[in-house]
Every structure is written in structure tokens, then in C-alpha cells.
Symmetry: C2
Subunit: 238 residues, 2 copies
DNA sequence: CCCCAAGGGTGATCCAGATCACACAGCCTC
DNA sequence: GAGGCTGTGTGATCTGGATCACCCTTGGGG
């Protein structure tokens, strides 16, 4: 099946190749079947907003492919990115469960597919299948943990360089090579990195220079090589 | 029933006067009875640690009376207080559900009672009673919301005065009088307030002076009067 | 009664980053 | 190829709080 933006659509959760890896996709046969019925799938272009901070929750989106940027913005226009979501994540879950407005805005960073599940159908599913409710609780508590990581980073790490080092480390753990160094594609702008660690574009730029000079990282085009985890760890706890 | 520290012990959840108000205490008769069997109650002195950041989760504590300070500390010894918990809150829930170590330290700020529920018993209860699982999900998502508030405060509000104003506003909403002003008992030290908003003792001291001078607040002994919410709101979004 | 610890007030200094200001590179469209 | 737009690099300046230093009050215990 061919879709817009050159993506393959994954139409059936039960036969989805990623099923095993994703906490909520990997339900029992019964529940999975039910999930399949109540979801509706769609493909979104880069820049699409799945939902916007402050909206009343219509339902959740299970991300099948692509990356999503979750952010929150103050009235004065200052923005922080709280998370970059990967496939398998359930977006908007907290808002739906607690029936508060969405607390973040979610924007596609690249073309991707997501399954929408309306609020009522989801709640019905949860009442029917305790296993699903437990999964949801697990996902919520996982979300909570990342939120806490964020709090620790924002509240405890004082200097931008500390936070920056921390961020690089978290990236590097996701993609470490056998020789200890790690290599990854840099898809965020300096501005966006600034919004993650709570500093300005210029400071991020200067941090990159500084870290390059210190041989901590290396940049060729859009590829970032992290050369020395230990040195970064020393910066974090300094 | 008389207990240490001059507290009345609430021994039976089903007859507890606070039952209605507390999300997890107010279960159906069956589930409540079961809850009553698996819990063990205890009274703690001021300063007691219910659990400490990094410990493997043994179970949850349902706070019956007293106030609890939740905090996290960096290796260098910098501390932030992430929440002051009131009766009815379930402490350690996320750790228990996700089986990660406790992400915060919880310390009694005054003598109080808490019910302990061992991890296994709780999980068993959740499997047996879907309603309980849903309550837990709700509580988790509520926790998540307050965590997000914290993130917004730490990440978006740049200046200490903004954060301070925000904190005062949140206190004031909890205790607003009919005439618009609000009055509350100040139980935190300047140091602790600093740990909430991420600044130093001295700065908090100066902020109090400044706000007193501007007629925003008034202090007599341990009583804090918030005189003008609108003015505070203006500081927050300035 | 004195002492000491904990909490609070306030001045002086200093510096890391925010802010402002350019300059430049890549890439699109017309 | 000119213009415009987005993202980046890097100097110069300015400033809000952290930090240090000291003194004051309060209250409890020996």
C-alpha cells in the first residue's frame, strides 16, 4: 500500500512489524482486534500539528512512523521542547485520561503516520480490557519519568553547558557504536536545541564551537560524532 | 483512638471522614474493603523519610494527614522541591507502577499518618478491580500535570520574581477569602522556597522585601496575606 | 542567664549568558 | 543571477542573580 510522502501505510495493528516493540500496540489478540476497529489511521506532512496546547482532548494519537516534537509555549512566545517522540509513543494520553486540555503542542518533524483513537472509544476499551488499562498506566508512569528527567535537568543543572552535555549524552546512549563513540544525524536546528535546554540560539552555537575545540564532538555536515562520553559525563556532574 | 504526636489515627478507610475527597480512598465497597486489608497504617514524626530517591520501590504510601515534601537532589547537593503533598495523595505510585527506583525523596514536614501498601498487593488489587486501575491512571495523569506545571515554571518563567509571583498565586488560589485577598500560614523557610523556585535563600529574602514594599503581600508573624492577585498576575506574564 | 543554632535581612562584588549587531553560507524561487 | 529566507558563527555590551560577608532576631537547652 502506497501513501502520500512516499510512506508505506501500516493499516493493521495486528500485522504491524513494529507491534512487538511498542507498549500499547502489543496487546492480546482480542484487545488488539478491538483497537484495530476503533482507530483511524492517517499520514501527516512535516509541520502538521496533531494537536495544540490548550485544546480540549479529542483523543490520542499512536505514532506509527516519523518523529514528533512536543512543546509548550508561554504567552510571551518563549517555547520549550519537552520531548521528541518516536514511533510507538502515545500522544495526548494524559489529556485524554484526565480530561484536561492538551498540555503540549505536538508537531510532526518529518512526514509520518499516526493512528487516532477517539477519547470515548479509548475509555471504553480501557474499561473492557484491564490489560489495556495497565498498559496505559505504565505508559503514563513512563511519561512521568521523562517529565521528571526534564525537571531535574531544568532545575538542577545550572549552566547551559551542563545541560548541553546531558543532552548529548542522552542522544549518544540511543546510538552508541561498538568502539564507544557514537554517530548520529543532527535533525534539530540550534534554535530548537536551545528550546530543549532552555537557552538561546547563540549560546548553543558557542557550545558547539567550544565542544568541538575540546575534541568532545565532531561535526561533518549533518552528522554529529560524539567522541568522548566520559569527558561529557565529567561536565555534567562538575 | 489516640496515637503518638497527638494525632488521631484513622484506622478504617471505609469510615474515614476524608474518604469522599480522596481519589483513591473513595473506591467501591468491595475494593475499599480489600484496600483496607492490604494496607498497614503508621504515624510518622516530622522529618521522617517515607522513601528516598533511588531506592527500589517497596510500595506506595497514601497520605492520611500531614504534609509531605517531595524533593530531588543532584550529586553536587543542590536540591529542588517538586511538590508539597496533601492528604489523599498517593506517594511513590509511579515508581511502583513502572518498577523504577523512587524518583524523589519524600519527607514529612509535620507529624502525620500514612497508609503503606506493598507493591505486590497493590498490583494484585489493580488486576482485580479495573476501577482501581483507572483511579491509578487518573492519579498518574494528575501527577503528570503538576510535573508539567513545574516544567513550565522552571523552563519558561525566566526570572526568579516571575517564578515567585507564580508560586504566591498558586498558594493564594488554595486559600482565597471572599474579599479577593487571601491569607495563609507560612510553613516553609526561605531556603525551602528557594528550592521550589530554583533560586537562593538571599534572593527569596529580597523578593519578599520587594513585594512587601510594592504592597503585593503583607507579613505578620507566620501569616502571609496576599493583597493583590492582579498585580502578581501582571508580574507573571510580564 | 547565657549560648548557640537556625532563620532572616541586606550590602558589595563579580561573572556567565542574554541581548544586540553583523556577516556569511546554503538554498529556494522568480 | 538577483533577491530573499533560514540557519549559523562570533564579537561587544549589559545586567540580574549567585556568591560572599556580616549582622540581627528568635527560641530552646544546658
Amino acid at each position: 500500500m502506497r501513501a502520500p510522502y512516499g510512506l508505506n501505510i501500516l493499516d493493521n495493528c495486528l500485522t504491524c512489524p513494529n507491534r512487538q516493540d511498542h507498549i500499547f500496540c502489543n496487546l492480546s489478540l482480542q484487545a488488539g482486534q478491538r483497537l484495530n476497529e476503533i482507530k483511524s489511521t492517517a499520514v501527516y506532512p512535516k509541520g502538521a500539528m496533531l494537536f495544540i496546547e490548550g485544546q480540549q482532548p479529542r483523543g490520542v494519537f499512536v505514532l506509527c512512523s516519523g518523529k514528533v516534537k512536543l512543546s509548550t509555549t508561554s504567552r510571551e512566545g518563549k517555547t520549550i521542547i519537552t520531548k521528541i517522540s518516536d514511533p510507538g509513543d502515545i500522544l495526548g494520553l494524559n489529556a485524554v485520561i484526565s480530561n484536561h486540555p492538551y498540555e503540549v503542542t505536538s508537531e510532526m518533524m518529518e512526514p509520518g503516520q499516526a493512528n487516532f483513537i477517539p477519547r470515548d472509544s479509548l475509555l471504553q476499551l480501557l474499561r473492557e480490557f484491564p490489560e489495556a488499562a495497565l498498559r496505559v498506566a505504565q505508559q503514563l508512569s513512563r511519561n512521568y519519568y521523562t517529565a521528571y528527567e526534564e525537571i531535574r535537568t531544568l532545575g538542577l543543572a545550572t549552566s547551559p553547558s551542563e545541560k548541553f552535555a546531558k543532552l548529548l549524552l542522552s542522544w549518544s546512549t540511543k546510538a552508541t557504536q561498538n568502539d564507544g563513540s557514537s554517530q548520529l544525524r543532527l535533525t534539530l536546528t540550534h534554535e530548537e536545541i536551545g528550546e530543549i535546554i532552555g537557552t538561546t540560539r547563540e549560546t548553543v552555537s558557542r557550545l558547539f564551537s567550544e565542544f568541538r575545540k575540546k575534541q568532545l564532538v565532531q561535526i561533518k555536515g549533518a552528522t554529529l560524532v560524539i567522541r568522548s562520553r566520559p569527558a561529557l559525563e565529567k561536565i555534567v556532574q562538575s
